[in-house]
Amino acid sequence: MATVIGFEGSANKLGIGIIRDGVVLSNVRHTYITPPGQGFQPKDTAKHHRDHILPVLKQALKDAGISPAQIDCVCYTKGPGMGAPLVTVAVVARTVSQLWCKPLLGVNHCIGHIEMGRLITGAVNPTVLYVSGGNTQVIAYSRKRYRIFGETIDIAVGNCLDRFARVLKLSNDPSPGYNIEQLAKKGEKYIELPYTVKGMDVSFSGLLSYIESVAKQKLEKGECSQADLCYSLQETVFAMLVETTERAMAHCGSDEVLIVGGVGCNERLQEMMGEMVSERGGRVYAIDERYCIDNGAMIAQAGAEMYSSLNKSGGWGTSDCVGISGSWCTQRYRTDEVEVTWRH
């Protein structure tokens, strides 16, 4: 039986969660919410994490009802993400791992999302669509790696949605994407937007520039509403994602899709994906905002898989993600860099 604590802070969400053998004992999150029209900057985000990490850690231990001595392994997000917030969280993870005399493991953030999605949904070998503010990837597992079949060639889909929310001065509470989704439900008119799929890859930056300029003109002239723009943006970007995911499924002969990452809790995306997958006779696995949006439990879950496979293989001495000296952070850390030692 292994009890693992995970620390996450690669973007504006600070999360600490504790997992024991696939059961979430606690999962506390504190989100840095900026005023409407503003994004989050690394320096301010790091300050947010510094200000809240110790109370969040206390709460995570309290919710789980365990003492530090009962923890077997401390895990933190090694990357990818923003440098300053990553290091802030890593500094605390390093310190408690030494205080409590527990091993320390660095976890790839993307792998955290995938493993948490698999745990919560029970999907065995799905094609994974990972969509968030920082990442957009279509992934499938093959021979010890989560392989990237397609990805964005510029900005992430969540970044595109967030930045358009800023143009409309929508609230960032609880998240800009959520407020776009709510407004989109009232949209009636579809405005044609650039649809950019290049092979297996997608692109959103041209689409964003276009809608930014069109929005200003059309709103001033009263030709459309904010809701119409949100609706058209969602329909377009989600269609691009569904198209590339379908192609990856065809490549892999897979009939399951798992959607993870912050944008994954968008119900319209889940619905569109569901239509495509049901036509293929397959099934979509989606998860709610507790586990879709960045959280500590997902780092604990991926860490728990690493921990048990290290125990089995006796690889503690050779892995480069182990211990204090290997506990650096990296802003760039691709999903396919990690050897997935815990799957066949």
């Binding site: 001595a69 605390v92 310190t95 205080l99």
Partner: protein, 87 residues
């Protein structure tokens, strides 16, 4: 060359060593700034050097933020547990 030297006493040598380990890992983002940490009994010593005073100020400022976080973590979650298992 601009330099800055700090020495900080901790309640015990164990805690000074924990802080040293937690704060030594991350390389300075700029190559023209260097920092070295060492522990002697319960005192953590840090030595910075940089080509410009401006860079030195930024490096020391950022280090202090992490140092304060480590000190608060030690205060909230310390003192260090004794290693109970045989490994």
């Amino acid at each position: 060359m601009h330099t800055c030297a700090l020495s900080l006493p901790f309640p015990s040598s164990k805690e000074a060593q924990i802080a040293c380990n937690s704060l030594s890992v991350d390389p300075e983002p700029r190559r023209d700034v260097s920092k070295s940490l060492s522990v002697e009994s319960n005192v953590l010593s840090i030595h910075f050097s940089a080509s410009e005073a401006r860079l030195l100020r930024v490096a020391v400022g950022s280090f202090m933020e992490h140092l304060i976080l480590v000190v608060e973590t030690l205060r909230e979650f310390g003192p260090p547990l004794q290693q109970e298992e045989d490994d």
